[in-house]
Symmetry: none
Subunit: 474 residues, 2 copies
C-alpha cells in the first residue's frame, strides 16, 4: 500500500486504506495485542495526510473490536480472547406467528426481548443505497429479467469465499443454492432426499421449521435426546435414521455449542450409514467467548453435510436471501427438481447483486465485526443485569453465542401466565417449552432476546421483570 500523498490513488478512500493496513497487521500478528498504535497525529504526519482519515480508520477498528481507545493515552490492540468474544447469533426467526400480521399488532412493548429482533441502528444504509444505485440503473434494465434460478453466480462466488474464511466451509459456487425463504430451501431439500430416506432425526427441542417442513413433505420425524454436548450420537445410531438435522454452533433454543469431538463422531456416523447431516448454521457468525467453532461441513473432507445459512440475522431479513450448500452428489438432483417444477429465482437479483458488491468491497465483513461488538456488549449487559437482580433465583443457559439466552427459574406459575404478566408491564419474552416435541423440562424456561433492545434499557427491563415476578419465584 502506498499512502504517500503523490501516489496515485484514484479509487479507494484514505481512511479505508489505513484501516485495511492496520487490520491486516493485527490479524497477521505484526501488531501484537496490547500494543499501542501510533497516535493519530504521528500516524497522519508519517503518511503525510491530515488527521481525519487516520481518526476515522481508528474509529472503524474500534467499532469492529480490533483496538480500544484509552482517552488521552492512546489506542491499543485488544486481547485476542476479547476479539472473538461474540455470541453466535441464534438462528431464531420465531416470529409471533399466532397473530395474522406482525404489522397490525403493535402492543408497543417498552422492553422488547423478542428473540429474533436485531439492531438496525448500525445498518450502513447509505452504503447499501450507494451500491444499490450502482447496481440498478437505466443501463442495467436487463437485470429486471430472470436470472439464474440457482442464484446469481457472482453472489454465490462471494458466499463461497465468505463461508471459507469465516465458517470454514469448503465448497464451490456451484454447490450453493440461493432462495428467498428458508422454508422453500428445506422443501427443495425434502424433495431431492426423498429417494434416500423417509425419516429425519431432529434435536429435541428444536426450531420447528426444519422438522415440520420435512414432516409435511412426508417424512417421519424422530426426536432425539440431547445432553450437554448436543444431540446424543448413541440414540441417533440406535434410531436407524439416515438423515439428521442439527444446529451445532448454537442450538435452538438451548444454546448448546457442540464440541468438536461430537462433531467428528457425527461425521463418522454419516459416512458409515451413507447418510446426511443437515447443519443449520444460521448466525454462526456471532460468538462472544472464544473463537468460532469450525462448521461440520468443513471439518473433514466429507460429502454428507448440507449446510444452511442466510443473511437475515447477520444483515437484514428483508433482502430475502438464504442459501444452502449441497454436496456434489446432490447438485444434479437439485437441478432435476428445479427444472421439473419450472423454478425461477426467488431472490431479487437487485438485492443479490447489491449484496455481492457489499461483500466484495469489504463492507460486509466490517459490518459483521461491528455488530459482533454491539451484541457482545448487550450480551454482557444482560447477563450482568440478570445476575444483579435475580441473583441465585435464576439460571442462564446458552449465553456464549447467539442473540438470546435461556432464562430458567423455579415457579409454580405456568410459562404462559408468567409471560402474560410480563407483557402487561410492557416486557416481551417468550416461553421456551413450546419448542419441545414431547415432555417439557422441570423448570420454567424463557427465551430472552437482546438483539433489538437498546443497551441502556436492558438493566431496567430485567429489573422490572424481577420486580413483578418476585411473588411467583421460588
Amino acid at each position: 500500500m502506498n499512502l504517500l500523498p503523490n501516489s496515485t490513488m484514484s479509487k479507494s478512500y484514505l481512511h479505508t486504506e489505513i484501516y485495511e493496513k492496520i487490520k491486516q497487521d493485527i490479524i497477521s500478528g505484526k501488531l501484537r495485542e496490547q500494543t499501542r498504535l501510533a497516535s493519530i497525529r504521528k500516524h497522519a504526519e508519517f503518511l503525510a495526510v491530515s488527521t481525519t482519515p487516520v481518526e476515522m480508520a481508528y474509529r472503524q477498528l474500534i467499532a469492529e473490536g480490533f483496538i480500544e481507545s484509552r482517552p488521552r493515552r492512546g489506542f491499543f490492540v485488544v486481547k485476542m480472547s476479547e476479539m472473538y468474544r461474540n455470541l453466535d447469533m441464534a438462528q431464531v426467526q420465531y416470529l409471533d406467528s399466532s397473530l395474522p400480521t406482525l404489522q397490525a399488532q403493535k402492543p408497543e412493548y417498552i422492553y422488547d426481548f423478542h428473540m429474533s429482533k436485531i439492531d438496525f441502528a448500525y445498518f450502513p444504509i447509505q452504503e447499501w443505497k450507494r451500491l444499490l444505485n450502482q447496481v440498478f440503473n437505466p443501463e442495467s434494465v436487463d437485470m429486471l429479467f430472470y436470472g439464474d434460478p440457482q442464484g446469481e453466480p457472482g453472489l454465490r462466488s462471494e458466499i463461497t469465499n465468505y463461508l471459507y474464511q469465516f465458517r470454514g466451509v469448503n465448497c464451490q459456487a456451484d454447490n450453493i443454492v440461493i432462495g428467498a425463504e428458508q422454508h422453500l430451501l428445506i422443501h427443495i431439500l425434502g424433495q431431492i432426499l426423498k429417494d434416500h430416506s423417509d425419516c429425519v432425526a431432529v434435536e429435541n427441542p428444536a426450531y420447528p421449521l426444519v422438522y415440520n417442513t420435512f414432516q409435511t413433505t412426508g417424512y417421519q420425524i424422530y426426536p432425539m435426546p440431547m445432553d450437554a454436548g448436543g444431540l446424543d450420537p448413541t440414540a441417533l445410531k440406535a434410531s436407524h435414521a439416515r438423515i439428521v438435522s442439527i444446529s451445532p454452533s448454537h442450538q435452538f433454543p438451548v444454546g448448546t455449542v457442540m464440541p468438536v469431538s461430537r462433531r467428528l463422531e457425527l461425521l463418522e456416523w454419516a459416512k458409515e450409514v451413507d447418510g446426511f447431516i443437515i447443519e443449520d448454521d444460521y448466525g454462526g457468525e456471532f460468538r462472544y467467548q472464544d473463537k468460532p467453532v469450525p462448521s461440520l461441513q468443513g471439518l473433514l473432507p466429507n460429502d454428507n453435510v448440507i449446510y444452511l445459512g442466510g443473511f437475515s440475522q447477520v444483515l437484514a431479513p428483508d433482502i430475502c436471501i438464504h442459501y444452502m450448500v449441497l454436496p456434489d452428489k446432490l447438485v444434479p438432483l437439485y437441478h432435476q427438481y428445479r427444472r421439473k417444477v419450472m423454478m425461477e429465482g426467488s431472490s431479487s437479483r437487485i438485492h443479490q447483486n447489491t449484496l455481492e458488491l457489499f461483500m466484495k468491497n469489504g463492507s460486509f465483513e466490517r459490518h459483521i465485526r461491528r455488530m459482533r461488538n454491539v451484541y457482545r456488549k448487550k450480551n454482557r449487559e444482560l447477563l450482568t443485569a440478570i445476575q444483579q437482580h435475580f441473583k441465585n433465583k435464576a439460571t442462564v443457559i446458552g449465553a456464549s453465542a447467539g442473540l438470546h439466552v435461556i432464562l430458567q427459574i423455579h415457579s409454580h406459575w405456568s410459562e404462559e401466565d408468567l409471560t402474560a404478566i410480563a407483557r402487561k408491564e410492557g416486557i416481551r419474552i417468550s416461553p421456551a417449552t413450546g419448542f419441545y416435541l414431547d415432555e417439557t423440562p422441570g423448570q420454567k424456561q424463557f427465551i430472552v432476546g437482546f438483539g433489538g433492545i437498546k443497551l441502556n434499557c436492558i438493566n431496567e427491563g430485567i429489573g422490572l421483570l424481577h420486580h413483578i415476578w418476585t411473588p411467583m419465584l421460588q
Copy 2:
C-alpha cells in the same frame, strides 16, 4: 478562447471548452505535473458558471488520463510518464463501461422469439427508482425487518383494487397471499388442499409448473383432453377429480380463450362436487382483439376458485412478486400451514412497498396500457409477417392474447431439428410438444414469443425463418 459567461458560444458546449482549455495548458506545460487544479467549485465560481460543466470537463480529462482524482483532496495533473499508459487504460475503461452490464450480453440469437421475454425498453425505471428512494431511506430502516409473511397489507389492498377493476376478481386483501415464486405458492396450495383430494385434473398440454408441483407433493395428475373451448367439462366430470387447474384467459401453450359458457359450466361443476378450480391467469392483462374476458373467480359469487397471478410478465420478473387469491374457507388453512413451517415473507418488502406506491399513483395502470399497445403492435406485426412469408403453409393458433403464438406447420422433420436449424441462423423459437403429457399432435408446433424482440426485427426474422425452412415444409 473566451470563457467569460457573456461570450458568444453558440456551437460548442461549455464543458468542452473548459476541457479544451485545460488540456492545452497541460500539453503546453503551463500546468506542470502533480499540480493541483482549482477545485470544481472554485473553478466554476471563477468562470461564473455552475459546477456541472466543470465537473464534466474534469471527468473527461480523467477518462483521457490527463488528470486524476484523489477523493476529497482534489484533481491533480498526472505524471507525463504515466499519461500514455493511462491513455490505453482510459480506452479500456471506456469500452468496459459501454457494455450494458456483464450479465445479459449473449449475442447468440439475432432474432429472439423466446416466449417469456418481455420488453424492458419502456420500463419506467426513473419513476421506479424515485419511488424506491421514497420507500427506502434512513427513517425506514425498520422495513429491513420481517414483515407480514402473507405480504404487505398495503400492497395486498392495491392488488385487490387492481384485480377488481381489471380482471373482475372479487376479493379482500386478506384473501391474497404474496410469494416470491410461483412454485412456492403452488406448493403451499398443494399442502393446504391435501385433505380435500389427492388428485388434480389438468389441461393437456399445459405449463408443467402446476401439475409437476402437485405431483411431487403427492397428488395424482389426470391429463384432460381439450377442444376449441379449452378443457372438456365432460371428461372432467367423468374423472371424479375434485381439483382442476386451468388457464382460461390464454391457455398455455395453445392460447385458447375459454368462452364464458364453458367457464360457467366449470363453476357449476365445482359447486356440485365441492371442488376447486385453480385459475392461472398469467398474462390475462394482454388481450388484443376484444375486451378481456372476466375471470372465473369473479363470474359468479363462488367459493371454489383459487386465482393465480403475478407481476413477472406485466412488470418485471426480478421484483419477485406473485400472488394467489384464496377463497375464504382456505385462508385459515393457509395460516395454519404457514405457522407450522414458520414461514416468513419471501418477497422483499422494499419491492412490495415500491410496487404499492407504483400502483397507487397510477403508474402501474399507465404502464399496462402502454405495454398493451406495444405488444399489440408486435402481435400484429408477427401475424402479418407469418401470413406474408408462410402464406398457407402455416397456421397460427392463439394469437388474440398473451406474449406468444403457436406456429403450426407440416413437416417430416422433427421439432427439435427444425428448432436447431433456426438456432444456427440466430433465430430462437421453442418446440411446443414438450408440454403435452402424452400423445402429441400430428402437426409440428412451435412457440413464437414476440415480447422481447424489437418491432422492426420481427418481419426480418420470420422471413429468414421461412427462407431456411422452405426445403422442409410440406
